[in-house]
């Protein structure tokens, strides 16, 4: 790799300095680690506090100094969550909504991404630009017409109202297009010469190869919609159609500041699926979040 003029210019601007002593370097690394540790304590601390408070008897919720290690876990708050909140229903709703959106996004984005990457048709560039441009418009701006549309087609206060509008995905389409562009095109040519129809080429050659890309779309969709608050707040009315974040906020409202360990137990329960996805899909999530951000 050659050094470009920008880099050289950047280097030239450096004033000549005597190299600092080697010993100093070890100290600076230690200092860095200490700072990074402080930052990670500030990040993870609140979550650990939430976990440990949910495992304490409600009477000790506000105990100071706070304990971070739940030495004698008390699961009564978790029992209470199940009694005060129909949490099974909330989990079921959230899982249904999130799962169907994720699967729907994986399929529709794969199809559209393939068309934009591998098929030639008139207006391809313009159409792709329109798809990308929709990412710029905040969801909050279109929520009023979406709400009315949902009412118009008789879906208001149903889970379908949350699912259907979330399936077409500009970002997922973009991601899948990038993924298909990265696959070798001679595979498709070979299949075509062998007489496979374009649909067959997609289904038997490209789609299986694009599974990792589809997984990224699915994991991203899961993470986003499992945590979604704004749309469910507007599009669902009755409690039997609430998703988890809505249920938790309503649980907090019912209890005021009374029994916080119950609220926090609910918060911890709601984190578990996201945590599982984080552990198994961390890499995919990271790649997906930062995909297409230049470089």
């Amino acid at each position: 790799m050659t050094t470009t003029s920008t880099q050289r210019a950047a280097v030239d601007r450096l004033a000549p300095q005597r190299p600092a002593a080697r010993k100093k370097r070890n100290w600076s690394m230690a200092g860095r680690i200490v700072l990074l540790l402080i930052a990670s304590v500030l990040i993870l601390g609140p979550v650990l506090w939430t976990l440990s408070t949910s495992l304490r008897p409600p009477a000790e919720s506000f105990q100071l100094p706070p304990s971070f290690l739940p030495l004698n876990p008390d699961f009564s708050s978790y029992d209470q969550v199940f009694k005060q909140l129909n949490i099974m229903l909330l989990v079921l709703n959230s899982a249904l909504v999130t799962g169907l959106i994720a699967v729907g996004q994986m399929f529709t984005a794969a199809l559209a991404g393939y068309a934009f990457a591998n098929l030639k048709f008139r207006g391809r560039g313009a159409l792709f630009s329109i798809v990308l441009a929709t990412m710029m418009v905040p969801a909050q701006v279109t929520i009023v017409p979406v709400f009315m549309l949902i009412r118009g087609i008789g879906l208001s206060d149903t889970l379908l109202a949350l699912i259907l509008p979330a399936i077409p995905t500009a970002f997922g389409t973009f991601l899948m297009r990038q993924y298909f562009l990265g696959l070798p095109s001679d595979l498709g040519e070979a299949a075509a010469i062998d007489g496979a129809s374009p649909w067959r080429t997609f289904r038997s050659v490209y789609a299986p190869l694009a599974m990792p890309g589809m997984a990224i779309v699915g994991i991203l969709a899961f993470n986003y919609h499992w945590n979604e608050f704004f749309r469910p707040l507007i599009l669902t009315i009755s409690e039997q159609n609430f998703t988890l974040p809505l249920g938790l906020v309503s649980l907090q409202g019912n209890l005021g500041t009374g029994s916080i360990s119950v609220v926090l137990a609910g918060v911890i329960l709601s984190m578990i699926p996201a945590l599982v996805v984080f552990m198994f899909g961390q890499r995919a999530l990271r790649d997906g979040l930062t995909a297409g951000t230049g470089k």
């Binding site: 190299p19 690394m29 979550v47 048709f121 007489g195 938790l248 930062t290």
Partner: protein
Amino acid sequence: MSTATTGMSTKRRNGAAAKIETTRKQRQRWLPWAFLAPTILGMGLFTLVPIVASLVLAFFRWDIISAPSFVGFDNFAEVVQDPTVRVSFLNTIMFVVVAVALQLGLALALAIMVQEKLPAWLRVFFRSAFFFPLILSAASVSIFMRYLFNEQFGVVNWLLSFVGIPAVPWLTTPAGSAAVVILVYVWQNFGFSFLLFIGGLASIPTETYEAASIDGATGWRKHLHVTLPLLSPTTLVASVMAIINALQVFDQPYVLTRGGPGDSTRTAVMVIFESAFQRLEFGQASAIGVILTLIIMAITAAQFRLSKRFVFYQ
């Protein structure tokens, strides 16, 4: 796999090759549209139509119950004069400036610290830790943060008491609430910019640093003159995304403070939500939405213009 497909094709080729060719061509004409149909129809129905409808609705007065009536620019005029709307937009701008500056600064500093020589397992640990809040829901984060910032019993004030700071009334004063909303938002979101910076730093060739250290550059001078200029494309992307996201903040102020005390943490999106779904003023809500969209587009365009002067591409 290749032998199987070849076998199939020989059989086919024995037929009328020309006929197959023409039908395939015809099929190929509509085929892309079959692939695109679900996405295009869905987006048309749930995004493009609503965008247009929102624009149109902004010129009508409508409460769902009675028929909509055309009012021209009245909604815009009323919205611009409404003190609550004005305060909420000012709040949003203040929020964006402070939150984005904190988010980018923190993310950049931590990314540089993580990316420099560190044991691999520590690097993985720090990266995962900073990324972790991104997977949580803003609603549940806001719920537990509310307790941590409790004035009498909260852990934050308890910690501050060690450095001699008396209990801060976080959630009951305008300044305190604004600070909490910003802190909670940055806490949850800086990991995203952090990831972008990690990616950007990884793409700077190590030779550049070697050349710089031969020239005697050390410590922060190295970062000021090498890292920052070479990282400017990443910084542009990170700041555009951070600003667009921050302009749409809703979950945190809604759960933490419901916009209060007073209007101190009411944001633009909260006002859209309230005027549409609490006061049923759909026209006004749309007008606020249109203004917000225009602001987002103007800021994004300005950033790309400015970037021509400050961004170096390798």
